[in-house]
Symmetry: C2
Subunit: 384 residues, 2 copies
């Protein structure tokens, strides 16, 4: 992409058609670009708001090739993608960002961790699991993670004892991580463009639904000291530079009880912890990725207002066509923005939508968000 490129003609390809692809597409369309989505699901959220939908899976080499061939730039809303054909296309000069080499590295959580560790970025102690005995290396409890394929709490589990290690251990390739004494889970969205320009969004605090380990709400900014904030930013920038990544990266951090900041993992795409940027920052993460991968200057990441985001997960006990309970009452809450992704099927804990609440006072934003959370229920046509 050189600067003389005619942006009004630019064709953007997005691998993945979920909620992240949907909002990315909406921002690309805002800027006047043409958007094609690759996703296996007919009428997926992103396809509803884009110019073209190639129906195909993320390991369908032919469809991946078609997308890249038809697009001036291809990017991702998810990391679980076949990289072999993408590497070939990338090596032949097609514009794909982040590069499929970066995607491949990040896909493997163990390799990701190793690289960060080698570059001097603080990470929790970790160890490859080659034999069942390795599971006991740090004692118990210990965290076991699949090297490949994990997301939203999948492929991660706590082994509390040798007994757990004997009976519950993940059988796929895995590694263990020490149990970190976590004070807070923080996150930063980092943007890096083709020229290496980097911008960080504010440090946010993630709160989790402990039942399924899915991010439940996000508070921006995090309630942390200036020192922790600076350390978090420094570590995150170093991590993205280490990866040589282009695009948007969700850097998940642990703040330990002893005040250390460690990188947990990195998502090479817009991230759930950055949804709040749509309403609360000068440039959303979803517009920022478009700017980054098309060689446009990065936008300001300034926080215009404190914000709290809560995920709307499918209620336990329901599946099928979604029904939104409480939308009227929730929309009475001032400075509340309601997102519903347009998925045709709900199931327990599926991410169906989110709301972002703004307030000059972050505690008031939290109150309003909690109120919304109590009111809004995503139920389904069928009880299960």
């Amino acid at each position: 992409m050189n600067k003389d490129f005619n942006y009004s003609n630019l064709k953007l390809g997005i691998i993945g058609g979920g909620q992240l692809g949907k909002i990315m597409s909406q921002k690309a369309k805002k800027m006047g670009f043409h958007v094609t989505i690759l996703d296996p699901t007919f009428n997926c959220p992103a396809a509803q708001v884009s110019d073209k939908h190639i129906i195909g899976g993320f390991y369908d080499k032919e469809k991946l090739e078609q997308l890249v061939q038809e697009s001036d730039v291809t990017t991702f809303e998810l990391e679980h993608v076949d990289t072999t054909i993408l590497k070939e296309l990338f090596d032949n000069g097609h514009s794909i960002a982040p590069s499929p080499y970066v995607m491949e590295l990040i896909q493997n959580k163990y390799e990701q961790k190793k690289l960060l560790d080698e570059k001097g970025i603080p990470v929790p102690a970790y160890k490859d699991v080659k034999t069942p005995e390795d599971l006991a290396s740090f004692g118990f409890p210990v965290v076991q993670k699949s090297k490949l394929g994990g997301y939203d709490g999948q492929g991660v589990q706590v082994l509390k004892s040798q007994e757990d290690a004997n009976t519950k251990a993940i059988q796929a390739e895995s590694f263990i991580e020490e149990m970190v004494d976590i004070d807070k889970e923080l996150a930063i969205i980092v943007a890096r463009n083709i020229e290496g320009e980097i911008k960080c969004y504010p440090v946010v605090e993630m709160l989790f639904d402990e039942r399924v380990n899915i991010c439940d709400s996000v508070m921006a900014p995090a309630n942390i000291s200036k020192e922790i904030e600076e350390k978090s930013i420094e570590v995150s920038i170093k991590a993205i530079q280490a990866l040589d990544g282009v695009g948007i990266f969700g850097v998940e951090l642990f703040l330990t009880k002893s005040g250390e900041v460690q990188v947990n993992e990195i998502a090479p795409r817009p991230h759930n912890s950055g949804h709040y940027t749509v309403e609360a920052c000068a440039t959303s993460q979803f517009e920022q990725i478009i700017r980054a991968v098309t060689n446009l200057p990065l936008g300001s990441t300034k926080l215009i207002s404190p914000a709290v985001m809560i995920n709307l997960l499918g209620e336990v006990g329901y599946e099928g066509e979604p029904f939104i309970e409480g939308i009227h009452d929730a929309l009475e809450i001032p400075e509340l923005s309601f997102h519903f992704y347009g998925k045709s099927f709900t199931k327990p804990f599926r991410k169906m939508g989110h709301v972002t609440v703004l307030d000059d006072d972050i505690n008031e934003a939290l109150n309003k968000a909690n109120k919304a959370k109590q009111i809004l229920k995503i139920k389904g046509s069928k009880e299960v």
Copy 2:
């Protein structure tokens, strides 16, 4: 629409597929609704971001009927629409907002003015033109306006003398208005939902391109006294109540040099003077209209940051496929949001996009916006 309606299934119909319909559709999709656009142009801006496009004109009764029949709620992005079939459908219980009766009234600028006048809302002195002699009733200069069909400075002209009245007068049905001694042109976006709840956005100041009388930039908030602000809000609310309108209304106001606030005219749809609300307000005018016409509570209209919006008009001297000059440099300007509508053809003064600039300091926002305006040029593939 009752409160038990399943909003995740709601089908919204929008008459008109330009930039206003595009952003409305994006906000409706954000909230999870299904959107169908009626517009005669293949690949019009709104069709690119919606679920379905019915290709048909705004006076094509069959297509208007199809849209209304297929939609749970139908609304408008423009006012020049055949209302006869819509009135029939409305009378038969279809949900259309604003009502076709309100649309019909507003279409006729003379009838609009007369109603406002009768309801005690201050308007400039006006007079029906029945004979050529009527043009001279207020002396010269005087403003002559077509009763029907005007927009973006079309159908409005200043007659400077009897000579002008003899040679240049609009031949269609028209009326005259006294030349108001204008200090500023102000505007307010007013939202009113089915239950009659009303919310006003901040009073803004509109600046015009004098060559063609098209709104060139908008400053939010306007630089006016508290007293003028309150008077403006009061007058605007009264005007929308007088119309009994449901939806979003752009109320254009004159602030006279003697400190009076008069209603110039009312647009029964999202308005160019409210583009800034996308980035600067808690709820944009484009989401607000969706809430208003679907019987959801209105969102907060709070100004989160001062803002300046500038229109990107097609450069004089060019037409054809648009080319954006200066986009790189413009996007270097912090807190600048770039909108490009995706029209396939530019011509002089055509609205091709806009930018909104935020800044805590409105004067700095103005500086940044003026810089963007100097940098960004929408040229075409052909010199004319």
